[in-house]
């Protein structure tokens, strides 16, 4: 009797992998969705406080981060085409750009949070609890949780992309076995999608 035969017997099924990644994306959408529900309820109940707190955020940095992420979505999407065209170098180059942009995003986020901390704003801080209204406390609580969770997903996305880069280098991901890259791309676009909603909700309240 063959041993551990099933793994070898299972043919490469790109469509199964694609569905699998989409299903996983659905779970991420619902995960963030829960936070969006909380946000929308609290914004509805604290409209002025949210407006006030929103002024504290730097719209320019937010816009830059938005633009960066959109560009990185384009570069990784392009890489799926270059892989199909068997242009390994271009593929790796585009993925390198994507990763660099992701890192820059995180660096920006680091400085943004740093600024908040230096102003005494972090969950449970003295300043927050004594100076700010309840609505503002909720706003910043949500801000840190949602952008923090998003940043965590950027890191995960970068790891998945680096995994794809490694496999493309080795040649085990190529024009005939492209699923890993395409699904890495799907995950990265998800991260972009979440930010597309985070940006107006936190940065464009005037």
């Amino acid at each position: 009797m063959e041993q551990n035969a099933h793994a070898e017997h299972i043919h490469y099924d790109a469509e199964a992998s694609k569905i699998g990644m989409w299903l996983f994306i659905f779970t991420e959408l619902l995960l963030f969705g829960g936070l969006f529900i909380v946000y929308s309820i609290y914004r509805f109940m604290n409209q002025e406080a949210f407006h006030l707190a929103g002024e504290e955020l730097n719209t320019t940095i937010g816009a830059i981060n938005t633009v960066l992420l959109l560009i990185s979505s384009m570069t990784i999407a392009m890489s799926t085409s270059t892989l199909q065209y068997k242009k390994k170098g271009a593929t790796l180059g585009l993925l390198a750009v994507t990763v660099i942009i992701g890192v820059v995003f995180l660096v920006n986020k680091y400085f943004e949070w740093g600024t908040k901390f230096s102003h005494g704003i972090w969950p449970g801080s003295e300043h927050m609890l004594s100076e700010l209204s309840q609505g503002e406390i909720l706003f910043f609580g949500l801000y840190f949780v949602m952008t923090g969770l998003h940043a965590l997903h950027i890191i995960i996305g970068l790891i998945i992309i680096l995994f794809a880069v490694f496999r493309i280098q080795k040649g085990t991901v190529n024009e005939n076995r492209a699923a890993l890259l395409e699904n890495a791309g799907l995950y990265w676009h998800l991260v972009d999608l979440i930010w597309i909603f985070l940006f107006p909700l936190f940065y464009l309240i005037h």
Partner: protein
């Protein structure tokens, strides 16, 4: 393959006996064979079930008399909390999908395994990790969690008990559930054998499909809710803290947005198992195959829209209350359709009176009672009277224990010969069923009455007027557990030493009965091809 060839094949290595890359225990806990993983889940889930039963017995013992009987209030709170966490997250949610879904799904659709076998093994390891995390909350730290399995804010972030490992454990268990759902969805979409169209799928597979969608889409919401509670405990973020502007009712919304669909994770596969048992033991085509599919998907979808019926007295708006009450009545309809279809299947069937059918018939009985009591709870005015009383406890034990539990028992007896290649002792199995059933009714029926008379739930004490009902109920718990012991001993002995089972002892029509008992490692030597006029309930 003719019968003799098949029996010969059964004497060769089957999934139970083959030795792969790893030997002994490692060959099981590192196996990616869906059948072995199904058994791993069976053993771990049954273990946790027994821990939960012991906690339940302890609660019933405490409630034998008013005042302190064997434990103080704090201990009682901890006991019902851990009982709930174990039973919900470790037994009935994984339950049928993890055990029977894993074992049977690929075989029922003519596949050699699930779509992602390694992910499947990961799901089980995550389950084990989740169990250990919750256990660590019990064994270490400042006290066993005492919030109830519902972890309501604000108490859940104020309590000094060791909540973090418990909610982290719930998160990990949720992840296990999500990955199983994901795996099953891709499996059903992509690995059906030639000729196995959607309308030739066994109904158990359809319920696994609907359940998988719920596992996938609802579980993340409780995931994020647990994360928020954890962040609240660690950082004081303020999201559900009224002192900081948060709304505890919003916690309840988020919690029940998962936990209501979760009950459909519990019951849909149970209904699926019943839909396999009844046609087999009636030797008759299921009545209304497509109606049952439609009802299954309707329950899965509408089940997302009713969560507020757990919150009628919490402080929601009147509009929300009316809306949730209305939808709660609507969601009962597809379940009722299924009951009608099962009974119609039996009508004029050639009834084979066997243990699985006893379980299926008693399932219909207790599910009906539990479901009807749900309508009482769904009616706003009545709800005010019985919310947070023993009536609710009776309702959900009838539906979940009576529903999922009875179906699980029916399923284990039905598929026992296939899984273990041996037949259980039928006399002991039936005796076990009878004792269990009598015990179950004695344990839970008084609770309906006690609740209507005003006995609160989750209290370790009660007024003297409730004493008689509680004595009866506690006696019922002892009878029920006796039945449980009989059943389990019978199954364990039979698995080892029972008479060798044939390929198709029940004359059933689904694909698992066309392979040897126990099945070969790769399920099929050749992937089956389903003929145009064939079907899962093609009884002639």
């Amino acid at each position: 393959m003719n019968k003799m060839q098949k029996e010969h094949a059964a004497n060769e290595a089957n999934y139970l006996t083959y030795q792969g890359k790893h030997k002994g225990l490692l060959g099981w806990i590192l196996s990616t064979d869906h059948k072995r993983i199904g058994l791993l889940y069976l053993y771990s889930i049954m273990t946790m079930f027994f821990v939960g039963v012991l906690l339940g017995l302890a609660m019933k013992f405490e409630l034998l008399a008013p005042g302190k009987t064997i434990m103080n209030p704090q201990t009682y709170n901890a006991t019902f909390t851990v009982h709930g966490v174990i039973m919900i997250f470790m037994v009935v949610v994984p339950g049928l999908p993890a055990v029977f879904g894993n074992f049977l799904l690929p075989i029922m659709i003519g596949a050699k395994d699930v779509a992602f076998p390694k992910l499947n093994l990961l799901s089980w390891w995550l389950y084990v990790l989740g169990v250990f995390l919750v256990l660590s909350a019990v064994l270490f730290g400042n006290g066993v969690p005492d919030t109830g399995w519902t972890f309501y804010a604000p108490y859940s972030f104020k309590t000094g008990t060791n909540l973090l490992p418990a909610i982290f454990g719930a998160f990990v268990l949720g992840f296990s559930s999500i990955l199983t759902g994901l795996n099953f969805l891709v499996t059903i979409h992509r690995l059906r054998c030639p000729g196995m169209t959607w309308t030739k799928l066994p109904l158990f597979v359809w319920t696994l499909y609907g359940t998988a969608w719920i596992q996938l889409l609802a579980t993340p919401v409780i995931g994020i809710t647990m994360v928020l509670i954890a962040l609240e405990r660690i950082f004081g973020v303020g999201i559900f803290d009224p002192a900081l502007g948060g709304d505890p009712i919003l916690y309840q919304h988020l919690f029940w947005i998962y936990s209501h669909p979760a009950v459909y994770i519990m019951i849909l596969p149970a209904m699926g198992a019943i839909s396999e048992i009844i046609p087999t033991f009636s030797q008759k085509q299921i009545f209304g195959y497509k109606a049952i599919i439609a009802s299954t998907m309707a329950i899965a979808f509408v089940g997302y829209l009713v969560w507020g019926h757990h919150m009628f007295t919490a402080g929601m708006s009147g509009t929300a209350q009316y809306y949730f009450s209305l939808l709660t009545f609507v969601v009962a309809i597809p379940s009722a359709i299924k009951v009608f279809n099962w009974i119609s299947t039996m009508y004029k069937g050639s009834i084979n009176v066997q243990t699985p059918l006893y379980w299926a018939a008693s399932f219909i009985f207790v599910f009906l009672i539990g479901g009807l009591s749900g309508l009482v709870l769904g009616a706003l005015a009545a709800n005010v009277h019985v919310h947070d009383t023993a009536f609710v406890v009776a309702h959900f034990h009838y539906i979940v224990f009576g529903g999922t539990g009875f179906a699980f028992m029916g399923a284990i007896h039905f598929w026992f010969p296939k899984i273990f290649g041996r037949m259980y002792d039928k006399a002991w199995a039936n005796a076990g069923w009878l004792v269990f059933f009598i015990g179950f009714l004695t344990l839970y029926t008084p609770m309906f009455y006690l609740g209507m008379m005003g006995m609160p739930r989750r209290y370790y004490d009660y007024l003297e007027e409730f004493h008689g009902g509680n004595i009866l109920s506690t006696f019922g718990s002892w009878i029920m557990v006796t039945g449980l012991v009989i059943i389990v001993i019978n199954l364990v002995r039979s698995a080892r030493k029972g008479p060798v089972a044939e390929m198709d002892p029940w004359h059933s029509k689904t694909l698992e009965w066309t392979v040897s008992s126990p099945p070969p490692v790769e399920n099929f030597d050749e992937i089956p091809v389903i003929a145009e006029d064939d079907g899962p309930y093609n009884y002639k």
